[in-house]
């Protein structure tokens, strides 16, 4: 009888080597190649993992829910219960609006993660985010902007809280998120509703920028509100021709009047007096061009490089907000808030607090501290000058009975069409609580287009914020 044992033994050895080979290849894929496989763009695990988490809600300060999670086809999605008035805050898809900027707290990732809580809650759960936004003022702002292109930004100058962040035209996020057709309409709309003009729209600031030039001049002690300037209507300043609003010229006028009557030539001369080095230094102190930090994709401001060709001429133009200067409405509001806050610059914030599903406060938001840009006395003097703008100058439209309002108008020249209308203001002057900045694209005169909107939003905020 043949004994097959030796042959079986050899077969066994061959099989075992096969298993050893499998084990080695397992190690290759699961250990050696794991990082590369996890990083592959064809690996959908990261985005799929997000869909398993029940995200939190986003609410305004006064409790209006603007983003709410809803289970749909076994996945968590956001609904938009507050509609188009909050579209630029909510966005319409996972990578738009605050859905992207707030994804860490909303999905409970990173420092917000809590495995034990998720287990007790029956699945991974995110946190609620309460914004600093005032819902009634936000709605009013969108209502007032309706039919125009523009933006409204309102801040609390003492805390840096963002109260209103409105952009027009707007869109209905619920429709856009559910229909490809609506999404295409949004994408190809010539008025670009998707653009959040409050933080992404770059505009020449025009005369509202005179606040900055005046602040620098006063802070350096170069001028006082009584310092006199001459305006002949058209003059050469720093080798460039500067035209004033009034062709015949303002004649001799004080700096105070130059602000409330919005004289370009006086500010061009002041800018020339300040000089390039000081101007740039104060730009940095005010963090003038820094982008916003409110959880939304936002733009840096732009300014001519004065150390370059014909810098002095460009500086003269920049001194009254023209030239190559471009700012977003939020940056103008931040500048105004700094004057209202005794010269102390705050970086606005938008998250009031993050609340866990079991109602514990996980994090409280606060403004970034950019430090003192000008002396408190300088801010005080300038606030008085801005109050004159509203009481006897171009900003009369923003006057509110019984409240002292400080403001500045702007009509920024725009090579593409009619001038953009600006208005930026704060109130009450003695104890500033609210800053409102309004931009209306192609609004021509700031006092006529932007001014009334600013007044209404200001009134609304003064009423509701004190409640």
């Amino acid at each position: 009888m043949t004994d097959y044992s030796p042959n079986i033994r050899k077969l066994l050895a061959i099989s075992l080597w096969g298993f050893v080979l499998i084990a080695l290849v397992l190690g290759y894929w699961q250990i050696v190649m794991a990082p590369a496989l996890n990083a592959s763009k064809y690996n959908q695990r990261q985005s799929l993992a997000l869909q398993r988490i029940r995200p939190g809600r986003v609410l305004t300060k006064d409790g209006v829910v603007i983003l709410a999670p809803q289970r749909q086809d076994g996945q968590w999605k956001f609904t938009y219960p507050a509609g188009s008035d909050f579209a630029h805050l909510t966005g319409y898809a996972p990578r738009t609006g605050l859905q992207y900027g707030l994804r860490e707290p909303l999905y409970g990732m990173g420092q917000y993660a809590d495995a034990w809580r998720d287990l007790l809650a029956g699945g991974p759960t995110g946190n609620d985010v309460i914004l600093t936004i005032n819902s009634t003022a936000q709605k009013l702002a969108e209502e007032e902007l309706d039919g125009r292109r523009g933006a409204v930004v309102a801040l609390n100058p003492r805390t840096g809280a963002t109260l209103v962040l409105a952009s027009a035209p707007t869109y209905d996020p619920a429709e856009v998120s559910s229909s490809q057709e609506e999404l295409d309409l949004l994408r190809f709309d010539p008025n670009v509703p998707e653009l959040d003009r409050a933080v992404q729209g770059l505009y020449p600031p025009g005369s509202v920028f005179k606040i900055f030039t005046a602040a620098v001049g006063l802070d350096l002690g170069l001028v006082t509100p009584e310092t006199e300037f001459r305006c002949a209507g058209t003059e050469r300043v720093a080798h460039t021709r500067v035209k004033c609003r009034i062709l015949s010229g303002h004649g001799t006028l004080t700096l105070d009047k130059a602000l409330w009557a919005s004289c370009n030539i006086a500010f061009a001369k002041l800018g020339d007096k300040i000089g390039i080095d000081n101007f740039i230094e104060y730009m940095k102190k005010f963090h003038l061009l820094d982008e916003a930090n409110v959880g939304l994709p936002s733009k840096k401001g732009r300014m001519y490089d004065f150390r370059g060709f014909k810098g002095d001429a460009q500086l003269a133009l920049a001194s009254f907000g023209q030239g190559a200067t471009m700012l977003t409405p939020l940056q103008v509001a931040r500048l105004t808030a700094a004057i209202a806050n005794k010269g102390h610059v705050l970086q606005p914030y938008i998250i009031s607090q993050v609340t866990t599903p079991d109602k514990r406060v996980r994090m409280k938001g606060q403004a970034g501290d950019f430090g003192q840009a000008v002396k408190p006395e300088t801010a005080h003097t300038l606030a008085g000058m801005m109050q004159d703008v509203v009481e006897k100058g171009t900003g009369r439209v923003a006057a509110i009975r019984g409240v002292s309002v400080a403001g500045k108008t702007g009509s920024a020249e725009n090579p593409q069409g009619p001038a953009h209308g600006w208005f930026t203001c704060f109130a009450p002057v003695e104890n500033p609580q609210v800053v409102v900045t309004v931009l209306v694209e192609g609004g021509e005169s700031g006092s006529e287009s932007a001014g009334p909107i600013a007044r209404k939003v200001l009134e609304e905020l003064l009423e509701t914020q004190n409640r």
Partner: protein
């Protein structure tokens, strides 16, 4: 020299079965918690575990000694299989539990009905003929599914995959044939003469080539590889020479090259294997998703119920190893691999210890089938070889496959009962005394 790997006794077998029950229930509980289901549903898996324990008791009938390692290994593999399937699709897992209970019954039936495994030897030609007949009927009248005509039965009532059964029948046929002709084959071998003994090996080769032809026509590459592998192993067993193994491998390679140029689907399989990144969202999708799952698992896995088996096509059958790799990590895949190693090594071990040629060859052939099946499917998932549709024993979803695996297990246990002499094997004698 007759050594044996661990030989647990009767009580140890029971302890091991209880241990596997514990592991399965724990795994199910984790899956249920992760999937937000009632943790009590985890107890369903105890139907299988209890079935194994009951089976172990039933197989005591007659009081003969038998192998004590195979059942616990199979029990743990089945438990892991149910846990993973439940995680992919609870309905499939529930059906799989029924299949396993049916398989266990079939196993008990085989074990008790076959008085002596040696009695099966005369049926070798019947077995071969039935296997061939089944495959031909399938080819002519089978139902198509996933682009291959591999099913037999009535839609909606009863369907089975004859190729699974054919594996066992083929093992019976080859074991019987070689047991009968082995001595003659050896006697006719002339040292140094190429292909000596061809008179008796030739017919075997012809039969296998015929099977291969059927499989290629059916586009069942997995079965083709399996049957060829089995033949190579058996020819080596019978002759102790590598000539036949090399010859069939050369024939196979030639056939593959031919198939590559003749059949689009074979070409596609090879091209995907060579470079799945060429079409990562189309043809290469499945294999890449499997690799992503393995990579995501890392050393310890992402945890039961926390992976993404939904991204992997055929996660419940061909790609089930990738799901294990994601949720249980390298630790899990190696553990499962070790269980297969134990089953395979035990089968070969029985083959070496059997006092009867047919029983010895049958156990070895069944071991080869288990080994090939495991190596071919894990190798396919790991992109070591092209991926072919083949089941993972005791884990992949599929009624026929499960029942047939249990029948194979029953045959192995019968070999251990009938052909392993307890008088000469101290380990088995120890087992009996306890």
């Amino acid at each position: 020299m007759r050594r044996t790997i661990i030989s647990p006794g009767r009580r140890s077998e029971l302890s091991l079965l209880i241990f596997s029950t514990f592991v399965s229930v724990l795994g199910m509980a984790l899956v249920c918690v992760a999937m937000q289901q009632m943790p009590l549903r985890a107890l369903r898996v105890t139907a299988v575990s209890a079935g194994f324990i009951l089976t172990a008791m039933l197989l005591q009938v007659g009081g003969k000694s038998r192998d004590r390692l195979l059942l616990p290994c199979a029990s743990l593999l089945c438990g892991i299989g149910i846990v993973v399937l439940w995680r992919i699709n609870p309905d499939l897992a529930s059906r799989q539990i029924l299949w396993m209970l049916l398989g266990l019954s079939a196993m008990v039936g085989i074990y008790l009905l076959v008085d002596d495994v040696r009695d099966l030897a005369p049926y070798k030609y019947t077995a071969g003929a039935v296997a061939l007949g089944l495959l031909i009927i399938t080819m002519v009248a089978g139902r198509e599914s996933h682009g291959a005509r591999l099913w037999l039965g009535v839609d909606g009532y009863f369907m089975f995959q004859p190729v699974e059964l054919a594996k066992i029948l083929m093992a019976l046929f080859l074991a019987g044939y070689v047991a009968e002709k082995g001595d003659i084959i050896r006697a006719s071998m002339r040292p140094g003469v190429f292909l000596s003994g061809f008179k008796h090996m030739g017919p075997l080769l012809l039969v296998v080539l015929f099977f291969l032809g059927v499989f290629v026509a059916q586009r069942d590459l997995g079965a083709a590889v399996l049957f060829l592998g089995l033949f190579v192993a058996v020819s080596y067993l019978a002759t102790g020479r590598k000539t036949y193994a090399l010859l069939s491998l050369i024939l196979f390679a030639g056939g593959m090259v031919g198939a590559y140029y003749l059949f689009g689907h074979v070409r596609q399989r090879f091209d995907i294997w060579i470079n799945p990144w060429a079409d990562p969202t189309g043809n290469g999708y499945q294999i890449l998703q499997g690799l992503f799952a393995l990579g995501s698992g890392g050393l310890t896995g992402v945890g039961l119920g926390h992976g993404f088996p939904g991204t992997i096509p055929a996660a419940e059958t061909d790609m089930v190893y990738a799901v294990i790799g994601e949720e249980m990590g390298l630790a899990g895949t190696l553990a499962v691999l070790l269980l297969y190693v134990l089953v395979v090594a035990r089968s070969f071990d029985l083959g070496m210890r059997a006092r009867n040629q047919f029983a010895s060859l049958l156990a070895t052939c069944l071991g080869v089938v288990f080994a090939l099946q495991t190596l071919v499917i894990t190798g396919g998932v790991l992109r070591l070889i092209p991926l072919t549709g083949i089941t993972m024993p005791f884990i992949s979803y599929g009624g026929t496959s499960i029942v047939v695996n249990f029948i194979a297990l029953g045959l192995l246990l019968a070999v251990s009962r009938d052909a392993v002499s307890e008088e000469t094997d101290p380990k088995l004698r120890d087992g009996r005394t306890d």
